[in-house]
C-alpha cells in the first residue's frame, strides 16, 4: 500500500489533489492501475502460497499417494509419526545440527563483526569476503566443493597428512558426516555478521568514551555496553538462524546424494519429508510432517520471544 500512496507524490505532482477528492480522475485511475500492476507479482505469489498452504493442510489428513484420489484418514499420519524410527532419527539430526551450529555461527559472526568494526582499512573488501560464503552457503556448488575439501583425498586430509595424521572419512563415515555439515554452516556466518556489523555501528561512541574515563576494561565495556545495546540484533539473528536451520535441506541432499546417508546420519527433517513425498509416494504423510515442522518452529520461536523479555534490551 505504501507503494500506492507514495507513487503519485514522486511521479506526477500535478495529478495529486492534496485534499484527496473522492472523485478519482482518469489520470489518477491510470496511476492506480499501474500500482496494482506492480503489485501483481505479489498477488500471484500469494496465490501460489495460499493454495498449497491449505492443500497441504487438507492432505495431511489423507493417504494421498500422488496418483490416486486422497482418502481422509484423520490423524493416522500424525499417529504413524510416533512409530517411525526414521522420523525420530531425522528430528535428532536436525536438532543436533541446529543446537550446535546456530550458537557457534552466531558467536563467530559477532566476533568477526567486532573485529571488523574497529575500522579496518579496506573494510568493504573484508565484509564481502566474509559475506560471500553465506550467499552461496545453501547452493549445490558450495556443498559439492565441501565434499571435495573434506573428501578422502581432499585438502583437509592432505593438510593433516603433512603431520602424519591419517584423517577420518569426513563425508562417508557416519560419525563425522554431520559435523562436516555443521562446519559448513558455521563457515557461512556472513549474513548474521553483516547484521551485527550494522548493529554495532549504531552504538553511540560516547558511551565507550565515558566508560573508559571511568576506567572500565574493554571486556567490561563489551559486557555492559555493547551486549545490551545490540541484544535486539542478537535476538533477531537467533530467530532467523534457528528457523533457517530447522529447514535445512540442500546441504543434506547434495552431500549424501539424496539419501541422507551415510547410515541416515545426515537425514535432515526436510530431506526425509522429501523422500516420503517423492520417492515413497506418501504425500499425505509428508504433508503431515510439514505441519509438524511448522509447529516445532512456532514453539521454538515462541519460547524465544518469551525468553527475550529477560535478556533483550530495547533502548527506548
Amino acid at each position: 500500500m505504501t507503494v500506492l500512496t507514495k507513487q503519485p507524490r514522486g511521479a506526477a505532482p500535478a495529478s495529486a489533489s492534496p485534499g484527496g477528492a473522492p472523485r478519482i480522475r482518469p489520470s489518477r485511475r491510470r496511476k492506480q492501475r499501474s500500482g496494482y500492476l506492480f503489485l501483481l507479482p505479489w498477488f500471484l505469489g500469494m496465490l501460489f502460497t495460499v493454495i498449497p498452504f491449505f492443500a497441504s493442510l487438507y492432505l495431511a489428513f489423507t493417504d494421498y499417494n500422488l496418483f490416486t484420489e486422497p482418502n481422509f484418514v484423520g490423524l493416522a499420519n500424525f499417529q504413524a509419526m510416533f512409530e517411525d524410527p526414521r522420523l525420530i532419527q531425522s528430528l535428532k539430526v536436525t536438532f543436533i545440527y541446529t543446537f550446535v551450529s546456530v550458537p557457534i555461527s552466531l558467536a563467530v559472526a559477532l566476533l568477526v563483526a567486532l573485529v571488523l568494526n574497529r575500522g579496518l582499512q579496506g573494510l568493504s573488501i573484508y565484509r564481502s569476503v566474509y559475506y560471500l560464503p553465506s550467499l552461496l552457503g545453501g547452493s549445490v556448488a558450495i556443498v559439492m566443493l565441501w565434499r571435495y575439501i573434506f573428501g578422502n583425498d581432499g585438502i583437509v586430509n592432505g593438510f593433516l597428512g603433512i603431520f602424519g595424521i591419517q584423517g577420518p572419512a569426513w563425508v562417508t563415515d557416519p560419525q563425522f558426516s554431520l559435523s562436516t555439515l555443521i562446519v559448513l554452516n558455521v563457515w557461512t556466518f556472513g549474513s548474521p555478521m553483516v547484521i551485527f556489523l550494522a548493529g554495532l555501528r549504531q552504538v553511540p561512541g560516547m558511551y565507550y568514551e565515558a566508560a573508559s574515563i571511568d576506567g572500565a576494561s574493554k571486556w567490561r565495556q563489551f559486557r555492559s555496553i555493547t551486549l545490551p545495546l545490540i541484544s535486539p540484533i542478537i535476538f533477531f539473528n537467533l530467530i532467523m538462524q534457528l528457523i533457517g536451520s530447522f529447514q535445512t535441506f540442500t546441504q543434506g541432499y547434495v552431500m549424501s546424494g539424496g539419501t541422507g546417508g551415510p547410515a541416515d546420519s545426515t537425514l535432515f527433517y526436510n530431506l526425509y519429508l522429501y523422500q516420503k513425498g517423492f520417492t515413497e509416494f506418501e504425500m499425505g504423510y509428508a504433508s503431515a510432517m510439514a505441519w509438524l515442522l511448522l509447529m516445532i518452529i512456532a514453539i521454538f520461536t515462541a519460547i524465544n520471544f518469551i525468553a527475550s523479555k529477560f535478556w533483550v534490551f530495547y533502548d527506548n
Partner: protein
Amino acid sequence: MKKTTNTPIPRRVVLGAAVVAAGLALSACGGGGAGTSGAGSSGGNVELNFVFWGDANRAKMTEAALRIFEKKNPGITVKTEYQDSAPYADKLATRFAGGNPPDVLAMANRSLLEYAQRGTLADLKSLPELNLDKVPETTLSRGEVDGKLYGLATGVTTIGMVVNKTITDQAGVTIPDDKTWSWEDYAKFATEVTQKTGGKVYGAGYDVATETGPIMLARQRGEDFYTKDNKLGVSEKTIEDWFQYSVDLRKAGGYPPAGFFEQIGGSPAQSYLAKGTVASQIIPINNFRGYNEAVEGEVVLLRIPGETSGERRGYSADPTMLWSIAAKSKHPKEAAKLVDFLTNDAEGAAEVLTQRGVPINPEVADSITPKLSADDKTFVNLMAAIQEEDLPPAYVYPKGASVVADTLKQLTTEVEFGRISPADAAKTFMEKSNAAINK
C-alpha cells in the same frame, strides 16, 4: 509514434496481444526441444512428449533415432526431456501427480509395479500399433503385471566383473577362469592383488550397497530375491553372508577400508577402477566400453563369480529400463508407434546401438552387430552366451523396492564401520524390507 504513447491502448488490443504472446510462448516451448527437421508440420500434427534419464551422449543418440522416426511418421513430432536418474524419478512422480504425464517414458524396474498398480500406465498389449511378435516371452514377462504389459524392456543387460589386466599383469597375478570361479576364488584373487601391489591397489572394488549383487547371490543359492508373487524371497542368511563376505574381504586386505568409497555409481571416468586404486569392479556390462575407454590399460570383462559353483545360475537377462506409455496419454496410438519404432526398427536401432542394452528384438540385435565397436561386441557376445544357457526365471520388482534399495544402502554403511554385525544387519534388512513391500 509519440501519439500512441499518450493515447490509452484499447483493452481488447492488449488482451489480444497477450493471448498471442502466450500462444507464441507455448508453441515455442512445444517445438523447441525436439529439434525437428520441419517434417511437413501442417495441420493435424501430433506432438508426443517423450522423457528418459541419462547423459548428453545418450540424448544425442536418441535424438538421432527420433529424427528417423519423424521422417517415417509424418505428422508426429517428438519432444524430449532428459535428466539424471534421481531428479528424473522425482519429476516423473510430480508430473503424473499433476495430471500432466508424458506420453512415452523410461521406467525403472523398481518403480514399474508402483506405477502400474496405481493405474497410471497403459497396457501395451492393447495397442495394436506396437508389434510384440519378435520379442521373447521371458523379456515380456519382466514388464507384466496381472497379465498386462506395462513396461517393455528397452534392451537387456546383466552385471559382470571387470578387471584391469594391466595392473594384475604388472603385479604378476593370474586372473582365474571366470567360467568356473567361485566367490572364494575371487576373494583369494583380490587379496593377492592387494598384497603384490604393496597395498597401492585394492584387488576388489565393487559396491556392496547395490541390490544387483545380493539378487544374483540369492539366485545362485536357489532363492529368488523377489518372488513370482512379488514378495521378498531372499533368506536372512544370504543377506548376512553378502555382508560378511565384504567384511572378511576387507579384513584380509582385498577390499578397501571403511569410508574409502565416496561417490560410487558415477560415470566410468570417475570410478575407482579408472583412478587405478582398485583392480576389479562389478558393473552393468552394457557400460563395458565406457570403462575400457576410461581406464588406462586393458580391461577384461568376466562373468560374476559363483555361477557354476553355486546351486543354480545367478544370471538373468535384465531389462536395462522399460518403455511405458501413460494411461492418460492423449495420443496412445502415436505413442505406441514410437515404442514400436524404438523396439523393432533396425534403422533407429543403428543410431542408438546398445545405449540401452542389447535390443530385445533378436533381428534388430543382429542387424546392429556389425556396427558395434570391439568393446560393445564383447558385451553383446557375453550377453548372448549367457542367454543361451539354462537360466532361472526372474520377476517384476515389487512395490516398495526403492525402500529395499535404500535400506540396503544404509545397512551397508553401518556394517562397513562396524556399528552393527552382518547378522544384525541382515535381521534389520528383513524386517524393514518386509514392512516396506506391498504395504
